[in-house]
């Protein structure tokens, strides 16, 4: 519960903000929520990482399965991930998750000062 609520909060607010703001707005969301929710640094990183990991990989997966993996397999040749859409979805989640995670950590550390 301690982890679930911040994950859901960060994912949902990020989802709303991303509809009109650029991609790095996820960092601001995680920073502010971690600060406001008074999360401990370790928890903040984890919750923020997982929140956006799930959001990004989830949104991407919905598009990808609706597309029969046509695009993801091509992009996964380009990058190169042996054409695996699973690895591409994982990478998508990790990129968003890391940005959000570090921003969440920063928000929590600011509170601890």
């Amino acid at each position: 519960m301690k982890l679930l609520f911040p994950i859901v909060a960060i994912a949902m607010v990020s989802a709303i903000v991303q509809n009109f703001a650029p991609w790095w707005s996820i960092a601001i969301v995680a920073f502010i929520l971690s600060y406001l929710l008074r999360l401990k640094p370790g928890l903040a990183f984890l919750a923020a990482f997982l929140g956006v990991f799930i959001l990004w990989a989830g949104v991407a997966a919905r598009l990808d399965f609706g597309n029969d993996h046509i695009l993801s397999q091509r992009i996964a040749m380009l990058f190169p991930l042996q054409g695996s859409y699973w690895l591409l979805l994982l990478l998508t989640g990790v990129i968003g998750g890391l940005v959000s995670g570090f921003a969440g950590l920063s928000g929590a550390l600011l509170r601890k000062q």
Partner: protein
């Protein structure tokens, strides 16, 4: 301590965002690119949900309905022509925007704006050969014709309406990969597209190569190696067809070699730059078209076929469309970025094109007064040079400014500022593509045309690149005409110091080669020599014309009565290798089997029994193709010096050379100490080729079949993007064959129109969508490779409403 922790974490966050928000070398900005809300994932098109859409569209005069069929081919129904072309622009942009823009950027010399410094040399070349200059002239020329101007502007407005509807998340994938945005579409870009075609198709000129050859080997060898005519008789215009205008113009004899024109007139560093920069067309690229009169078809109505052969790319050079308004109802292949159908049919007529390949440009020697290049010598006087300032925006760098010198005889392509040239000698390029012209009018009038007279009238507007327009009408006429602006050009580098060298005679359109309803019951063209020796104008010819496909096509058309669509399909996928049938018997005669290893004897035995078909499942074809691929460069090695470019005779000419001449000095290989003969070169090449095959496959019996060996590819327009390409497409054919599908070149559009059933059969190696994230990106490639076809849904609205995938209604 705590402050340090926070600072480090914040710095890491900001650093991470910074890195992910900027491109990393060739990779895009990863954060932006992977963001599923605006990055590449947004281009993953849903493959199953299609529903009808109603849209409000500013700029329309009336309602327009667009039906998309099961191959995503758009069928546009408009109430007037302006709306029709507006919507053609809109729908084409919706599917092919990036391709449209990159092709015009290439012609305009603007690729460095997206690719940076590395594209600058090529961009400068595009401008130095005058493509942008020619496009500006064409734009001004089109503006003078009110109707064309309105239609071109309507098309551009449609493209721009689509561009304005986009937010960055909707941009085509390539914009996201390269990190830039689409710009406004303009009439200049429409003109640039045509100049792009001219640059692909009207460069069949070898003045510099011919001059070098004569300088090195003499005029006798020149006429011997490149004979004007051989035993070939399958001209586009059937032999013996009388010329209605005979006597109008006195025939010129073959061009006399300009006195004193020697290698020394031009410095070798200039030639080396020329050889490196100017891409010469590969030999035997090929395109076919033909029409069969009702007297030779099963239905009693004409059949018309066209398969223009070009570089195989994704997105494809063609976009299939059905355009309908009260004034026209037309179907066929369009050129993304330009209005009208280029190769297609309507309710009354059908037409198609092959490249004419006429020589429409010349190189002239130019002498400047001094290093300021302000004046050049013409008719013993110093004449002022025009200087055109070309400015290049370079991504990640400073703007570059180039000055191109224009003379009476066109722009100076190479000088001390471009192409490592130290020479103070100069060559200028004069080219019909520099002139303003309005080719769209031709296609617009064809799109609306009803009969033979409309066809001839339409063609009168057509200038460059020269095309053989085949024609058939529902009422039963067939015809063909080689149309373009044809000045009497030079065969060698010409003297630019005298106006006497200029193009004083241009063949009138009415005198371009044409024939209507010939007695033999068919017309055809396959890039061969157009006319017999009675044509009253000279035609420069060296290395330009491709005859073997025409021999095969005319044979197949003469041989058969009661032809039908199935026979037309059989012809378009015909893999008979005419050149092999002319070459191989000579080669086999030379081989002494007693000197070969057991597996080599097996290869020779297979070749002996070979039926000359380059079919995908044939191994024997690989032995032949690998052998001759080694033979030709060994034989014509005298012409491999980059400081003295020359045109190697094509494989068709080489077949006769091998057969008829066993002792020519050209057989001597310059790399060896001894003097080779034909037989020695044939043996050397066989040994070398078999060794290469053994090295590649382990042994000769493990050699793969031709389809696997040739590994045809349909590559993305960007050479780096293998991931968006179709590699190893398994199919037969090769250069010089009716199905001229080589490694990367082939039938870019296959079309058969049957006036008996009023049906069209067509496809191209690609798909209607330019989006690599669409299932319609490459869905036709496999059907194409198999040699199958789709029946075009050239149907009325009510039928399309039943057959559609979905429909968009645009309301004004």
């Amino acid at each position: 301590m705590r402050f340090i922790g926070f600072s480090l974490s914040l710095a890491a966050t900001i650093g991470l965002i910074y890195v992910l928000n900027h491109p990393l070398g060739p990779a895009p900005a990863l954060g932006r690119f992977f963001d599923p809300y605006s990055g590449f994932w947004q281009n993953a098109e849903n493959t199953s949900h299609y529903h009808d859409i109603d849209l409000q569209m500013n700029g329309l005069h009336d309602k327009v309905e667009v039906y998309f069929d099961d191959r995503m081919v758009p069928h546009i129904f408009a109430q007037n022509d302006e709306d029709l072309f507006f919507m053609q622009g809109y729908i084409t942009a919706k599917n092919r925007l990036w391709q449209m823009e990159v092709q015009t950027h290439s012609a305009a010399g603007r690729v460095s704006e997206i690719a940076g410094e590395k594209a600058l040399a090529k961009d400068r070349l595009s401008r130095r050969i005058g493509l942008g200059y020619g496009a500006e002239n064409s734009k001004a020329f089109i503006e003078k014709d009110a109707q064309s101007n309105d239609l071109v502007r309507a098309y551009c407005a449609g493209v721009n309406a689509y561009i304005k509807s986009l937010s960055p998340k909707d941009y085509p994938l390539e914009y996201k990969l390269l990190g830039y945005a689409p710009e406004e579409w303009t009439p200049l870009k429409v003109a640039l597209l045509l100049k792009n075609m001219a640059n692909m198709l009207s460069v069949y000129e070898f003045d510099i190569e011919n001059t070098n050859f004569v300088s090195k080997f003499g005029a006798d060898q020149f006429h011997y190696i490149y004979p004007e005519r051989d035993s070939f008789t399958d001209y586009i215009i059937p032999r013996g067809t009388p010329w209605a205008f005979a006597g109008d113009s006195a025939p010129d004899g073959p061009e006399a070699l300009p006195a004193g024109l020697k290698v020394a007139n031009v410095d070798r560093d200039l030639y080396e730059s020329y050889d490196r920069a100017i891409e010469k067309p590969q030999e035997l690229n090929g395109s076919n078209n033909w029409a069969v009169s009702g007297s030779k078809t099963k239905s009693g109505k004409p059949l018309l076929c066209n398969d223009p052969h070009l570089q195989l790319n994704l997105p494809s050079i063609w976009y299939e469309m059905h355009l309908s308004s009260p004034s026209m109802n037309v179907y066929g292949a369009t050129l993304p970025g330009a209005p009208c159908v280029i190769s297609g049919w309507n309710d009354s007529i059908a037409w198609g094109v092959t490249n004419g390949g006429r020589d429409v440009r010349d190189w002239f020697t130019v002498q400047f007064k001094d290093d300021t290049h302000n004046e050049y010598l013409l008719d013993s006087q110093w004449v002022k040079t025009e200087k055109r300032i070309e400015r290049f925006k370079v991504k990640g760098g400073k703007d570059f400014v180039d000055t191109v010198l224009y003379t009476r005889f066109g722009p100076i392509v190479f000088d001390q500022s471009y192409g490592d040239v130290k020479s103070k000698k100069y060559l200028s390029l004069k080219w019909t593509a520099h002139e303003g012209s309005n080719e769209f009018k031709t296609f617009y009038l064809l799109n609306k045309g009803n009969n033979y007279d409309n066809y001839l009238d339409a063609l009168n507007n057509y200038s460059c690149p020269t095309q053989n327009f085949v024609f058939a009408s529902r009422s039963g006429d067939i015809a063909i005409k080689e149309q373009g602006t044809h000045p009497l050009t030079h065969e060698f580098v010409a003297d630019g110091s005298t106006s006497a060298s200029d193009w004083h005679r241009i063949i009138p359109n009415a005198h371009n080669p044409t024939v209507k309803n010939p007695e033999r019951g068919f017309v055809s063209s396959a890039n061969q020599f157009p006319v017999d020796e009675t044509y009253p104008y000279p035609i420069t010819h060296v290395g330009i014309y491709e005859n073997p496909r025409a021999m095969r096509i005319n044979h197949l058309l003469s041989d058969s009565q009661k032809m039908d669509v199935a026979y037309m399909q059989h012809m378009q996928r015909d893999n008979y290798n005419t050149i092999a049938s002319l070459t191989l018997p000579t080669l086999l005669r030379v081989i002494d089997r007693s000197k070969l290893t057991a597996d080599e004897v097996e290869a020779i035995t297979a070749l002996d029994k070979w039926d000359y078909y380059d079919n995908a499942d044939s191994k024997t074809t690989v032995y032949y193709e690998a052998w001759t691929d080694v033979l030709y460069p060994l034989l014509w090695d005298e012409m491999g010096d980059p400081t003295l470019p020359m045109r190697k005779p094509n494989t068709y000419r080489t077949a006769y050379f091998l057969r008829d001449d066993s002792t020519s000095t050209f057989y001597d290989n310059l790399q060896t100490g001894e003097r080779e003969t034909r037989d020695m070169i044939v043996l050397m090449s066989f040994d070398k080729a078999m060794k290469q095959l053994k090295d590649k496959y382990g042994s000769l019996d493990k050699v793969k079949d031709w389809g696997s060996y040739k590994a045809t590819m349909v590559h993305h327009l960007s050479p780096q993007l293998d991931a968006f390409s179709r590699m190893n497409v398994y199919c037969g054919g090769n250069r010089g064959i009716v199905n001229a599908t080589s490694h990367d070149h082939g039938p870019s559009w296959r079309m058969i129109v049957d006036f008996g059933e009023m049906k069209g059969y067509c496809l191209y190696p690609g798909g209607e969508s330019g989006n690599p994230g669409s299932k319609f990106y490459d869905n036709m490639v496999d059907t194409w490779a198999k040699g199958d076809y789709y029946v075009a849904k050239f149907e009325p609205k009510a039928q399309l409403d039943r057959d559609k995938l979905y429909k968009i209604t645009f309301n004004k």
